[in-house]
C-alpha cells in the first residue's frame, strides 16, 4: 500500500515538468525557484528525516492525488473565490452519517479549536485542558485574555478524568484531546463516554471539545468516535482534521461535528471573525479524501501500527519506556533532556520534536515516519543515546 502510493506520487507531475527528485519523501525537494535566494533558505536540508510534526509520511491517497491533478485539468479556477464549501460539507456529512447542519469546516482543526475557545470561554469561564496537551486552545485563550486551567495527567500520561471533571466544573470549554498530543495516550471510549455524561449533568454550561485528530490511528479495541454522542448533546463538539491519517497537513482542512445549535454558534463567529473561505485545492482534496472508503483508513492505521510496534520494541529492548502510543507519534522516556537528544539527532539527519514541558528533561516526542525512515532513525537514536546515557532507566 504505502509503496504503491509512493511510487504513484513520484511520477505525478512529471508531465508538468516538475522536477521531482527521488528524494522528495525525505523532505528535500530541490526547488529551483530558490536559487536566487539560496543564502536565506530556511527549508530543511535535503535528505533529512523529518519526524517532528506528526505528519503522515506517505501523503494523501491516490484518489486524492488524482483529484488534485484533475482539478487543474478539469477547469479548476484558482483565480476564483470558491463556492465549494457546501460540497465538502455534504461529503463529510454523508460519510460520517450526520446532517450538513451538524458540520462546520475549518482551516485545519486549528480554526475549529480557536473558534470554540473564542465562543465558549470568557473572562469568568476558563479553558480547561491537560498539561501537556495540544496548545492551540490555551494559547488562543491567553491571547484573548481568558483564563486557562491546567490539569496534570495520570501516571500513565493519560487524561486524569477525576481531576479533569473537578477542574472543569463551571468552565467555559474543556479541551479533551484524545489521543492526547504529545503523550499519544488514549482514554477508552467507555471511560470517555462516562466522563462526558458526568460533565453534562454536573456542569451543563460547559462545552467539551473532543479533539479526535489522531483517532484514525487508535488500535486500542475500546475505541469509538464520539460524533454520535455529540449529535445528541449540544455541549459536545468533536473536532477532526485532514492533516493526519488523510495526509493533507499542507492543505489546511478540518471540521467539527456537533449539534446544530452549537455549530451555529461557531459559524456566527467564523462568518465575521474567522477565515470564511478555504482554499480550493484543500476543499477538492478533502471532498475526495473523506469518500475514499474505510479501506483507506484501515490500511493507513495498519501501516502506522507496524512502524509504531517496531519503534516501541526498539526502545523497550533498550529499557526505555514509551507511553501506550495510540497515534502516529510516540512519547518516550529517553532519560535525558529532549533538547540535547534533538540536537544530536539533527546533526545526524533526523529531526524530532520540540520540548514538551513539564517532561522535557526526560521525554521526547517522536513522529512515526515510514518504516524505512524509522529504521534509519532508530539507528541514529542508538548512536546518540549510547553516547549520552549508558543505560537509561
Amino acid at each position: 500500500m504505502a509503496l504503491s502510493r509512493r511510487k504513484f506520487v513520484q511520477t505525478v507531475g512529471v508531465g508538468a515538468g516538475a522536477a521531482l527528485s527521488s528524494n522528495i519523501w525525505g523532505r528535500g525537494r530541490e526547488n529551483s525557484v530558490w536559487s536566487a535566494f539560496e543564502p536565506d533558505l530556511q527549508a530543511v536540508e535535503r535528505g533529512m528525516i523529518c519526524i517532528a510534526s506528526n505528519e503522515n509520511p506517505v501523503g494523501p491517497g491516490k484518489a486524492v492525488l488524482d483529484a488534485l491533478s484533475k482539478l487543474l485539468e478539469g477547469g479548476a479556477t484558482p483565480g476564483r473565490y470558491s463556492g465549494q464549501m457546501g460540497e465538502l460539507t455534504s461529503a463529510i456529512a454523508s460519510t460520517m452519517k450526520v446532517k450538513p447542519e451538524n458540520v462546520i469546516l475549518g482551516e485545519g482543526s486549528t480554526q475549529i479549536l480557536r473558534s470554540a475557545t473564542q465562543v465558549f470561554t470568557s473572562k469568568t469561564k476558563p479553558l480547561v485542558g491537560t498539561i501537556p496537551t495540544y496548545e492551540e486552545c490555551s494559547g488562543y485563550a491567553e491571547l484573548i485574555g481568558n483564563p486557562v486551567k491546567g490539569v496534570s495527567l495520570d501516571s500513565e500520561f493519560k487524561i486524569d478524568l477525576d481531576k479533569m471533571a473537578a477542574a472543569a466544573k463551571g468552565a467555559g470549554l474543556v479541551f479533551y484531546c484524545n489521543p492526547n498530543n504529545p503523550t499519544a495516550t488514549y482514554v477508552g471510549a467507555k471511560a470517555t463516554r462516562e466522563f462526558l455524561t458526568k460533565m453534562i449533568s454536573t456542569s451543563p454550561e460547559t462545552t467539551i471539545l473532543v479533539d479526535e485528530a489522531y483517532f484514525d490511528y487508535v488500535t486500542n479495541p475500546d475505541h469509538e468516535t464520539h460524533i454520535p454522542f455529540a449529535l445528541e448533546h449540544p455541549q459536545i463538539i468533536v473536532a477532526r482534521t485532514f492533516s493526519k491519517a488523510y495526509g493533507m497537513a499542507g492543505l489546511r482542512q478540518g471540521y467539527a461535528v456537533a449539534h446544530p445549535d452549537t455549530i451555529k454558534k461557531l459559524q456566527d463567529w467564523d462568518r465575521a471573525g474567522g477565515t470564511s473561505t478555504l482554499n480550493v485545492f484543500g476543499m477538492a482534496a478533502a471532498t475526495v479524501a473523506i469518500q475514499q472508503g474505510p479501506a483507506f483508513l484501515t490500511n493507513e492505521r495498519d501501516r502506522n501500527k507496524a512502524v509504531r510496534d517496531m519503534v516501541a520494541k526498539w526502545f523497550a529492548d533498550r529499557g526505555m519506556k514509551a507511553t501506550d502510543g495510540q497515534a502516529n507519534f510516540m512519547f518516550v522516556n529517553i532519560g535525558t533532556p529532549a533538547k540535547a537528544f534533538r540536537e544530536a539527532c539533527r546533526a545526524k539527519g533526523v529531526i524530532v520534536a520540540r520540548d514538551f514541558p513539564p517532561f522535557e528533561k526526560t521525554h521526547c516526542r517522536i513522529t512515526l515516519g515510514t518504516m524505512e525512515e524509522m529504521t534509519k532513525a532508530v539507528a541514529v537514536f542508538g548512536d546518540v543515546l549510547a553516547k549520552k546515557t549508558p543505560a537509561a532507566a
Binding site: 506520487v9 505525478v12 507531475g13 512529471v14 508531465g15 508538468a16 515538468g17 516538475a18 521531482l20 522528495i24 523532505r27 525537494r29 526547488n31 525557484v33 530558490w34 535566494f37 536565506d40 533558505l41 530556511q42 527549508a43 530543511v44 510534526s53 505528519e55 509520511p57 501523503g59 494523501p60 486524492v64 492525488l65 488534485l68 491533478s69 487543474l72 485539468e73 478539469g74 477547469g75 479556477t77 484558482p78 483565480g79 476564483r80 473565490y81 470558491s82 482551516e107 485545519g108 486549528t110 480557536r114 491571547l143 492533516s243 495526509g247 493533507m248 497537513a249 499542507g250 492543505l251 489546511r252 465575521a272 471573525g273 477565515t275 478555504l278 482554499n279 485545492f281 484543500g282 482534496a285
Partner: protein, 403 residues
C-alpha cells in the same frame, strides 16, 4: 502583452482552437494540455465546448479571469506529493515566502506576516488595534472586512463619504480620527476603483499620528498591481512608520483568489502584534509554492496589468458610449453611474437573466452606481453587449457624456 500570453498558451495546445476560447479558459486549459502530454493517453478529449449562452460570465467578485501564471501553476503541480507536510516543513517553507517578500520590499522577515488572503490581516488588525473604546475610521463605501469584524465585536465604526470623484476623502476622515483604534484606507478603493496619491496618504498618516499616536493605520493595496503611475505604494512608509501596515493579496493580479494567500508588511513591532493573532499554519503549502513562483515572475504581473488595463479602457468606453460615466478606476473592476436608468439591483438582475453576473449593491451608492469586475476582453465584449441591451442607450436624456 495579452497577445503574447495567448500565443504562449497556444503553444502548448496540440489542436487548433480559437484564441478566444484559450483566453477565456486561460491557464486551466494550459494545464490540461500539459497533463495530457505527460500522462497516459487515455483518449481524453477536449472539454466539451458549451453552446454560447450557457456559460455564465462571472464579473462580480473582482477575480482575475485567467487565474495564476504558468510559473505558479507549475509550482502547484509540483506540490501535490508534499501535501502531507505542514507549511513550516514544506519546501519552500512559509518562512521562505516571508523572506522573499521581505527581500522584494526592502524589509526583513520580521516585517512580514502571512494571511489567508488579506482578509485575515484586515480582521486581525481590527482585533489588534481596536477595543470597545477605540473605534474604526474608514471611508464609505469601501471594502467591508474591517467594519464587518468590528461589528462582530460590537465596536464602533465612524465613516465619512467618498468625495465627488468617489475618492477616499482623507480630509473628511481626519476629524473622525481622535480616539480611533484603527484607520482603514483601501487604495485603490473597492468598490469605487479610485486612487488617492502617495503624497496625500503620507500627509494624512502624519496627521493621524499626531491626533491618535497609537492608532493602527491599515492601507489595503489589494489592487495596486492593476494601477498606473497615479498610485504609489505605502510599503516604504509602513516600514518607516510605527503602526502603519500595508496589506497585499495574491487574489487579484496574481490570480489566486481560491488559493487564499496574502500578507501584511510594516514595522517589526506592529507585525509582531499582528502575528500573535495569525492563525498557526494559516497558509497552505500550494499557496506558498505558487506565491513564491509568482514573485519570481514579475513580467507576468506586468502583462496581467496591461491586459487588464486594456479591458478596463474598453469597458469604460463602452459605458461612456452608452452615456454612462465611470470613475477613474485603477482596479480590475469599474464603478459606473447608471442611476439615470436603473439601480444596481435592477441592472444586476437584468444582466443575470442574460448570463452576466455583476457586482452586488454597495450602499449608500446602490441606487446609482454599479460595480462591474473585468473579465477577459472576450468576456467583456459579450458583457457590454448585454449591458447595452439592458441599459437601452439613454439617448433621450440630457447627458452628452461619452460623445
Amino acid at each position: 502583452m495579452s497577445v503574447s500570453r495567448r500565443s504562449f498558451l497556444q503553444g502548448f495546445g496540440r489542436t487548433n482552437r480559437s484564441a478566444e476560447f484559450m483566453a477565456a479558459r486561460g491557464h486551466e486549459e494550459y494545464v490540461a494540455e500539459l497533463l495530457q502530454q505527460g500522462g497516459p493517453q487515455g483518449g481524453r478529449g477536449m472539454r466539451p465546448q458549451l453552446p454560447p449562452g450557457t456559460e455564465i460570465i462571472r464579473i462580480s467578485s473582482n477575480e482575475n479571469p485567467l487565474g495564476p501564471g504558468k510559473a505558479a501553476i507549475d509550482a502547484i503541480l509540483g506540490r501535490f506529493p508534499e501535501a502531507n507536510r505542514y507549511p513550516f516543513n514544506s519546501s519552500p517553507l512559509d518562512a521562505d515566502l516571508e523572506i522573499l517578500l521581505a527581500k522584494l520590499n526592502s524589509g526583513k522577515r520580521d516585517n512580514i506576516v502571512l494571511g489567508v488572503g488579506s482578509q485575515e490581516l484586515l480582521r486581525n488588525a481590527v482585533r489588534v488595534y481596536m477595543s470597545p473604546t477605540k473605534h474604526l475610521v474608514e471611508t464609505s463605501p469601501t471594502y467591508g472586512n474591517c467594519s464587518g469584524q468590528a461589528r462582530q465585536m460590537g465596536w464602533t465604526i465612524k465613516t465619512a463619504p467618498v468625495d465627488a470623484k468617489l475618492k477616499t476623502d482623507l480630509a473628511a476622515l481626519l476629524p473622525l480620527v481622535k480616539g480611533a483604534g484603527l484607520v482603514y484606507i483601501c487604495n485603490p478603493n473597492n468598490p469605487t476603483g479610485t486612487v488617492v496619491s502617495g503624497q496625500a496618504i503620507t500627509d494624512f498618516v502624519a496627521e493621524v499620528r499626531k491626533i491618535a499616536p497609537t492608532a493602527g493605520i491599515l492601507i489595503d493595496e489589494a489592487y495596486s498591481d492593476y494601477s498606473d503611475s497615479s498610485f504609489t505604494s505605502m510599503i516604504p512608509l509602513a516600514l518607516a512608520t510605527p503602526n502603519v501596515i500595508v496589506a497585499k493579496t495574491f487574489s487579484k493580479a496574481y490570480g489566486m483568489a481560491g488559493v487564499r494567500i496574502g500578507f501584511g508588511i510594516g514595522q517589526a513591532e506592529a507585525i509582531k502584534r499582528m502575528s500573535a493573532y495569525r492563525m498557526p499554519y494559516n497558509v497552505n503549502t500550494f499557496g506558498v509554492a505558487a506565491a513564491v513562483a509568482s514573485l519570481k515572475d514579475p513580467a507576468h504581473i506586468k502583462e496581467e496589468s496591461a491586459r487588464n488595463a486594456a479591458v478596463r479602457t474598453f469597458t469604460i468606453k463602452a459605458f461612456a458610449d452608452m452615456g454612462y460615466t465611470s470613475t477613474e478606476s485603477q482596479g480590475n473592476f469599474i464603478f459606473t453611474d447608471i442611476g439615470k436608468t436603473m439601480t444596481a439591483a435592477a441592472f444586476r438582475d437584468a444582466c443575470a437573466a442574460k448570463g452576466v453576473q455583476v457586482g452586488r449593491d454597495f450602499p449608500p451608492l446602490e441606487k446609482q452606481w454599479a460595480r462591474t469586475s473585468l473579465g477577459t476582453m472576450a468576456e467583456m465584449q459579450k458583457a457590454t453587449e448585454v449591458f447595452r441591451n439592458v441599459l437601452k442607450p439613454a439617448t433621450n436624456t440630457t447627458s452628452g457624456k461619452g460623445q
